[in-house]
């Protein structure tokens, strides 16, 4: 389905920076960890985007490239200073190249507990048609 998918997954826990040009604001952009499952009806993508609210997700499909962006609003706790950090905070961005048999109007995106689930139903004409074989 895409070159991004076949790339071997980095199994470390560290967040991977996205392969994007640097930002003008100096903020970091991470590549969300993704699970992709395909069924006969379509493809489901699950992207881990902790800290991203439903309204801050931007999904676009242009020329077969599905781009997902998530904005994180960092909340620095008042009166507290960061003493020890194991993870960085930043926006999420990742793009996938799709095979073109998806109906862009029927893509469903929902966010729950920091995971974005994208459901891409296959276009009706691309669904494998079963041909019944009649007995003679």
């Amino acid at each position: 389905m895409s070159s991004d998918m076949t790339r071997s997954a980095d199994k470390t826990l560290d967040k991977t920076p996205a392969e994007t040009p640097e930002t003008t604001t100096g903020g970091r952009i991470y590549r969300p960890l993704t699970d992709i499952v395909e069924t006969d009806d379509g493809v489901t993508l699950m992207l881990e985007m902790p800290g991203v609210a439903a309204g801050d997700v931007n999904v676009t499909l242009e020329k077969r490239v599905l781009t997902v962006r998530g904005k994180v609003h960092t909340r620095t706790p008042e009166k507290l200073q960061l003493a020890y950090a194991e993870y960085g905070e930043g926006d999420f961005e990742r793009a996938f190249t799709l095979s073109d048999d998806f109906d862009p109007d029927r893509i469903v995106a929902e966010v729950g507990n920091g995971v974005l689930t994208l459901t891409l139903p296959r276009a009706a004409e691309a669904q494998p048609r079963k041909i019944a074989v009649k007995g003679a």
Binding site: L33, T34, M46, G51, P77, L82, E86, N113
Partner: protein, 142 residues
Amino acid sequence: MYYPTYARRSDPFALMRSMLRDFDPFTPPGRARPVFPAVNVWQGDDAVAITAELPGIDPVDIDISVKDNVLTLSGERKAPQVPEGARWHCNERSFGRFTRAIRLPFAASDDKVEARMVHGVLRIVVGRPEEDKPKKIEIKAA
């Protein structure tokens, strides 16, 4: 390179082990992983806050307990339900049980701990008990 363990000669395999440690290709130095979840710790005069990214975990599945000065965070990441016959193209997320103990700079009581989960980010605020707070000592004039 000098191997002090070998100098004692009590253990014939000590040299081999220390050499293997030097050339161990599987554990790059400073990357003793995997630890889940990664945490950020925030410190202040009255409280300590711990934040962790726990995407895809229902707040119900997270257990937080405090005993003396150790805060334990445990839970389970449940694998997504996929219909039978589904093909996996990409499997970067991981699932299963996790537990992590975090040492606090003071002994906290349970009623001073507050946890909140927003969009997959857990935030635990541990209040510092009154008796642990530094006391200002006034100097009396002679």
